[in-house]
């Protein structure tokens, strides 16, 4: 009888694994928790994409609720996301800061000249150091940053109408309201 029970071990192991696989189906791999949520933007000092002389630091991004968008010319999903960012930029809801991630300066500038530039400022992160500090999984990736320069939310993948309306916009409005309150006091 004891021997018989041993023969059930594989079945039990499999059932346990099945439970995890089942749970795994309902997890969204794009929904990555950032270790940085609730923490300030990592300190950096990088050149502006369009201008070698102009240095941008993490301090430059404070003051307003903003969207930090990691992009590159080598990334096909960024091209897909681009028209929607252009629309957002025209609506003028919040500044969009671009992080040009592991890219070539000339290529990036040419791309923006051709397709339009939705970014208030573009940070040139050539060797991906800032991306590494942010824990970027892959482009495109976006971060909602509040007026104190604290990262509030990260979204991996291209932003579209649905994501913006359902997830990002409500948070932006909440953060902007908080910023106003802060400014008043």
């Amino acid at each position: 009888m004891k021997k018989r029970l041993v023969l059930f071990i594989p079945l039990v192991l499999f059932l346990v694994m099945g439970v995890f696989l089942y749970k795994g189906l309902f997890l969204n791999p794009q929904n990555l928790d950032s270790a940085l949520e609730g923490k300030p933007i990592p300190a950096f000092q990088l050149e502006r994409l369009e201008d070698r002389g102009d240095v941008i630091t993490n301090e430059s991004l404070k003051g307003k609720v903003s969207l930090l968008n990691v992009w590159a010319t080598w990334c096909p999903s960024c091209k897909y996301e681009h028209p929607y960012l252009m629309r957002l930029a025209r609506q003028n809801i919040l500044p969009i800061y671009g992080i040009n991630y592991r890219d070539e300066r000339a290529m990036a500038i040419r791309e923006l000249n051709r397709q339009g530039d939705p970014y208030t400022v573009n940070i040139f992160d050539h060797d991906g150091r800032l991306g590494l500090d942010l824990g970027v999984y892959g482009a495109p990736e976006s971060y909602l940053v509040d007026h104190n320069g604290i990262i509030r939310y990260r979204y991996a993948g291209p932003i579209d109408q649905r994501i913006w309306n359902e997830t990002l916009l409500p948070m932006v409005e909440e953060l902007q309201a908080a910023a106003k309150l802060d400014g008043a006091s």
Binding site: P10, L11, F14, F20, L21, Y22, P29, E104
Partner: protein, 659 residues
Amino acid sequence: MIPELGHLSLIIGLAFAFLLASVPLIGVARKDQYLVRYAWPLSYGMFFFIFLSVVVLGYSFAIDDFSVAYVAHHSNSQLPIFFKIAAVWGGHEGSLLFWVFALSCWAAAVAFFSKGLEEVFTARVLAVLAMITIGFTLFMILTSSPFERLFPVPMEGRDLNPMLQDVGLIFHPPMLYLGYVGFAVSFAFAIAALMGGSLDSAWARWSRPWTLAAWIFLTGGISLGSWWAYYELGWGGWWFWDPVENASFMPWLIGTALLHSVIVTEKRAAFRNWTVLLSIFAFSLSLLGTFIVRSGVLTSVHSFAADPSRGMFILLLLGLAVGGSLTLFAFRASEMKSPARFELKSKETMLLVCNILLTVACGTVLLGTLYPLLIDALNMGKISVGPPYFNAVFVPIVLVLFVFMGIGPNIRWKKTKPGELKAKLLVPAIIATVVGAAAPFLADGQFNIWVMLGVGTATWVTASTFRAALDITKDKDGSFSLARMGRSQLGMIIAHLGIAVSVVGGTMVSNYSIEKSVRMGPGISQELAGYTFNYIETKNVVGPNYTAQQGQVEVTKDGEFVTLLRPDRRQYNVRTMDMTEAGIDWGLFRDLYITMGDPLSRTQFAVRLNYKPFVRWLWFGSIFMMVGGVFAASDKRYRTKKVTEASKADAKKAKLATA
């Protein structure tokens, strides 16, 4: 009209599968031979109609029927014809169809080649294969039919993903699927044996050539995949421990263990539960692989579709197949202790140790693959497990495995005389130690423990395999004769040497590759590993469905011309996707590998130069393994014994008829 015929034909195939899964089993239960024999025509029918629907899908691709959604998404009128055909298995729906087709091929093959086996047993095997076919065909028809139509009909197709437009794609998935699905046959044999309650050595002997065949295809599929990743993805790597790669590697590890366990069961009637369990595991891991790839639970460069409803269906199939078979195993597995006795120093022990090591190695890969999911499901955050984990855990286990792998072929069944092993293996051990210790110093003069261990164990496996070959071919009077060696022994020797060759390749390329990212343009030259690379010019090349900028790089060594490399940067017209096509000069001891990156100025490009020593050995090794497998599978024993089995079975039948 034509695509609907394909759909209809698939449904008819499903109907055949339903009949095949029930009629022969009813026949077995009612002891009605007439019903049992229906298994054969039903298998051929199932195969024929599924084959027909594959042909129809291929035809829709060939005539550019973009009203079929799957064709519109994966083809384009400008796509060369052989890629159109290969696009049949280039996406989710089509690769499922191909999966089912491969399964029906195996079923038909089992029906065809099993004339000599016990009729009831084969009927059970075919019924089990039909059950699996039902599951996947239903999945395809209900959630992802490749024959769905589009309206309005698009003028042009979206084109096949450029990454997949390559000879690698034409052969890699079919091989891999035939391998994956091939383990369904050993699974079906194991289940049929459990159903019949006769776990004897006859079952193991029948199952062995099928297991070998599946293993050969899987070996081929994996190494083609690795080769494809090497030259097509342009990363210059050959193995990434990506979830999808792991998904094909795990069944291979277990399949390898199964191959060896089956030998023991056949020859010594031992390890019967092991063999059954490994058969179940090998196929379960194939299913798990399908689940991982098709459900998108793990993100990977390979994932085609991420759709929870599809994932749910596959999980259900996985649960039914694996849960059902493990339950059957728990109730029916033999409780009896094996009658075969063996001592610690015996071939049985060696094979058992190797099997355990292979299973543990597979377990570590499984753990690493599913760990991110596990942590996530327990709400402990998101992590990813990368190559450092796999290298740190997998490599040491495999190194230990190689030590036993050298002993196995040199040791006797049951027990070995004391001192015999030492006498045989002392020379190989000395050779391995010397070669291993010298290897890193010969390569670059620096101490490197991994190179020592890698080259050392590979030499050990080679030397001890040759020692075993020597013993097999040597007559008692001291003369040598190759005729003394059976085909399965020859196969073992070739395959084991293949492992050694691959290990040398893997070790060298992992430790001595040199890579350099540089800016290059006309007139610029660079040095790497003693070679001089002169960038001559950039040419514009027009392909059938792309345009490319092609660098012309002349390679010289010590002033002498070596080769002209032509790396491409391709722009595919339809998907507006850029692809790099590496320029490779291959050699037995080194590859020179150049990829063109982004343009840095009007004439200059970012170029990556690679020097990859011994990288070809990886794939030469797997060719050895496959050839070894073919020899082992074609061993005379399977044929002659089958005939005698058949005549015995006939005699039995005749007896029954007269009784």
